[in-house]
């Protein structure tokens, strides 16, 4: 931590919050509000004279409220920067009549009650998001009596009670009688791995943290009796299994089974619980002096705000979504933004350090190169056709389109450095006012026509996205999975590019079936573009039905790059469906669409001003 303070290349801004990040890769502009500390950071020697005379006592957040701190305080002795901070919300008053004791006590005169919040602005080429995590608050799990029974504590509270820098200087006592607890129970997976309450995911660190705590206890308090209630012990890291074995050898009892409820013996403050030990099938009763709830983890408060400011996505668990779960685990889908630590998923210290190194390395590539190549496949506004409806800006997963301002006559514009080239805007634009470079309407239409030039009624036209379903087709090939030769694939970068008119053109040209395929929602290479694919296909199903064309002839499938087997299976299923489409049905479809097109053309001709 002190290395950060001393490093000549690091500007450390504490008590600071990001107000705004604008711009794009290579050129982010950042506005930070540095909250007033009321102590001149560089002048403070952390002598503590101010704190000694401060009359205000408030619960100490760093000690989980187990002890008190003054209004003017240092968060903990090793804090960086090593400077006191005045908590103005609790300060008696900043005029000498009210108090002013700290000001008088400070020989360096570095306390300034009139200090103001400061706005700091700077440019940055890259961003690393390391907003971290918090532990789950188990209050909602009423059966455990947290906050009702003082001797039921959470992992972090227990850490403070064990810590040499803690409220008891490392002497473990329990809250009710300040006596050393002998029988200690640990309940695992509190708020984790549950579909009903808390969170469905594994907290990752809680098993090993409990194993660590039991080892610390057996070392310092040989008479301590520890019992751990668990579902599975996940000791998968290097040296972890060995720690778990040491803990068992030290006499810690591991009971496979989670207690349903904790009761308190009001006379003693002891905690009584029973659990079904699934290894023996018996229900056992237990009495403890203290129970530790091994709580899971959740994204840090405030990470949601940062997420919005940087237009990032989150996975269903609430943590930030990486660009690719295997191949780009520290890249965000927004170019130039990377993740370190628990912002992306729960991790322990070692994994956080590892990922931070990876993020620094990935970000360092851009900084070292000094320039970044931007995507050639981007969208461009065709002003002659644009009606300034703003649909393009609304659907862009990257906020790469500045919306139009109809009142001022300002057309929408594309920030090319932010555009990733999915083509969703182009497909959503009903006025042909967006050209997708390298994947133009004209190019794709010509491919459809070429593929369906001969015997279209025997063919299935397939639109496949580059990253997932096209790659899934590659996987089927690599595994030599055989399927009928009736399908013809057109590749787009994203299924979001598939315009309604492409599908209609396929039917008009006589395709027996059309398939639109893309990534699974969580895999979408373009954050959330695939959601627009789904909406569009649903709209098309309605349209086909209204026209009298069987909607089943248009299919939608999510196939990942790893799902070669699924790709081959879908192709076989589609071929079976294709066989139910008779040539007469195809001919009828062509007639319906041609007639609809003719009517549309007639309407346009009748309203020449619309052209």
């Amino acid at each position: 931590m002190t290395d950060v303070r001393q490093h000549p290349n690091i500007v450390l801004l504490t008590s600071s919050e990001i107000e705004e990040v604008s711009g794009y890769v290579g050129n982010f502009h950042v506005r930070v509000v540095k909250k007033a500390r009321y102590v001149i950071e560089g002048d403070c020697t952390a002598c503590g004279d101010c704190s000694k005379v401060c009359p205000v006592m408030v619960p100490d957040e760093h000690q989980e409220g187990f002890s008190f701190r003054k209004a003017i305080h240092i968060p903990f002795p090793q804090a960086v920067p090593s400077a006191y901070v005045l908590d103005m919300a609790n300060c008696l008053g900043n005029n000498p009549i009210a108090c002013g004791k700290c000001f008088e006590a400070c020989q360096k005169k570095c306390i300034n009650y009139d200090m103001k919040d400061e706005v700091v602005e700077f440019d940055a080429g890259v961003v690393i998001v390391a907003t971290g995590m918090e532990t789950y608050d188990p209050t909602e799990l009423e059966e455990y009596g947290y906050r009702k029974f003082p001797n039921v504590v959470t992992t972090i509270e227990f850490e403070r009670l064990l810590s040499e820098g803690g409220p008891t200087e490392g002497h473990l006592v329990r809250p009710t009688d300040m006596k050393q607890p002998r029988r200690i129970g640990f309940i695992q997976c509190v708020g984790s791995r549950s579909r009903k309450r808390g969170n469905p995911y594994c907290g990752n660190i809680c098993c090993m943290n409990t194993v660590k705590d039991t080892l610390l206890l057996s070392e310092h308090y040989p008479d301590a009796e520890c019992t751990v209630f668990y579902i599975d012990i996940r000791a998968f890291g290097k040296g972890f299994e060995e720690m778990f074995v040491r803990s068992k050898e030290a006499g810690v009892r591991y009971v496979r089974g989670i207690p349903g409820e904790i009761r308190e013996d009001q006379a003693t403050g002891n905690l009584i619980l029973s659990a079904e030990n699934s290894s023996t099938g018996r229900v056992e009763d237990f009495e403890f002096d203290m129970v530790v709830l091994s709580t899971g983890v959740v994204p840090a408060r405030g990470s949601e705000e940062i997420r919005r400011k940087l237009t990032l996505s989150k996975s269903p668990d609430g943590f930030l979504l990486e660009s690719h779960p295997k191949l780009k685990p520290v890249d965000s889908p927004t170019k130039g933004v990377f993740f370190a630590g628990c912002a992306e998923s729960p991790k322990d210290v070692k994994d956080s350090v590892t990922q931070a190194g990876a993020a620094a390395s990935r970000a360092g590539i851009l900084l070292a190169k000094g320039e970044v190549k931007i995507e050639a496949i981007t969208s461009a506004i065709v002003r002659e056709n644009c009606v300034m409806c703003g649909a393009c800006a609304k659907v862009c997963p990257y906020n790469a389109i500045i919306p139009p301002d109809k009142a001022k006559g300002v057309y929408p514009s594309v920030i090319e450095a932010a555009c990733a080239g999915c083509g969703t805007c182009s497909a959503e634009c009903r006025f042909d006012a967006i050209e997708m470079r390298h994947f133009t309407d004209e190019q794709i239409m010509s491919q459809i026509d070429a593929l369906l030039a001969e015997k279209p009624e025997e063919k299935i036209l397939v639109f496949a996205c580059n990253w997932c379903s096209f790659a899934g087709g590659d996987g089927a090939g690599t595994a030599r999975l055989q399927y009928p030769p009736s399908q013809r694939i057109i590749r787009t970068m994203c299924s979001g590019r598939v315009d309604e008119k492409f599908v209609m053109r396929g039917f008009e040209k006589g395709a027996a079936m059309v398939l639109v395929s893309g990534c699974h929602f969580s895999d979408c290479h373009y954050i959330s573009a695939v959601r627009w694919t789904q909406k569009r296909v649903e709209k098309l199903w309605d349209r086909l039905e209204k026209l009298g064309i069987r909607p089943e002839r248009l299919q939608l499938e999510w196939i990942s790059a790893a799902e070669g087997v699924k790709f081959a299976r879908v192709m076989k299923e589609l071929d079976e469906m294709r066989k139910t489409v008779a040539p007469a049905e195809v001919a009828e479809t062509r007639r319906i669409i041609e007639e609809a097109d003719r009517k549309k053309a007639d309407r346009k001709a009748a309203k020449p001003q619309a052209l």
Binding site: F76, F122, L162, C342, K350, G364, G473
Partner: protein, 199 residues
């Protein structure tokens, strides 16, 4: 970009040894390609991606004044960068190269029906030629990267990332919302597996 007239397309059909030639009639495919409007050259290669294969493309570009290239071979997810670079070396914009995937999406998955596989491969080549005809040169613009990094959050991950970047010589702004760095880690008694003090 004109779609007829000036367009001079070259089609390169890859055998990929027997990987493609085993279930697609490659000589017929070359003949079909030659018959498409705008295709001024078509040839068959044993391995188009090999050095001799690429050399053949470069030679044909010069000899036949090709301004569009279609490579009917494996998936573009493998060799599109190879052929783009090959074209660029011969002075052609890399975005004027198009691939028809007649291996993963055709020869490998229709091994028992050579006639149908060849028909499908011909469709894929026609589709690629039509697309190639309408391709425009594209440019990957370069943007300057401002030489500084923002690190949001001063827990262990933010600290480590900031130090690593700073040690690489880059300027770093480390922004932390509380009055000290250290984050959640600073509140732990000891950290596993080393059982030492976190601060």
């Amino acid at each position: 970009m004109p779609t007829t007239g000036d367009v001079r397309i070259g089609v390169f059909v890859c055998d990929c040894g027997m990987n493609i030639a085993g279930s697609v009639d490659c000589p017929s495919l070359v003949e079909i390609a030659k018959s498409i409007d705008g295709v001024v050259h078509a040839e068959q290669n044993r391995y188009t991606c090999s050095q001799p294969g690429q050399e053949s493309i470069r030679k044909a570009i010069a000899e036949h004044k090709l301004n569009r290239i279609v490579v009917a071979a494996c998936t573009p997810r493998i060799h599109e960068p190879t052929f783009r670079k090959c074209a660029a070396d011969a002075g052609l914009n890399p975005y004027l190269v198009e691939m028809a995937n007649i291996r993963e999406h055709c020869s490998w998955v229709h091994q028992d029906d050579k006639a149908a596989a060849t028909m499908k491969a011909a469709d894929l080549v026609r589709s690629s030629v039509e697309r190639a005809r309408r391709l425009s040169p594209q440019k990957e613009a370069a943007l300057k990267v401002h030489p500084a990094a923002l690190v949001v959050g001063g827990g262990i991950a933010g600290i480590q990332a900031a130090l690593d970047l700073a040690d690489q010589g880059h300027k770093v702004y480390l922004v932390e919302k509380s009055p000290t760095i250290g984050g959640l880690m600073a509140r732990l008694a000891k950290t596993y597996p080393t059982m030492d003090c976190p601060t």
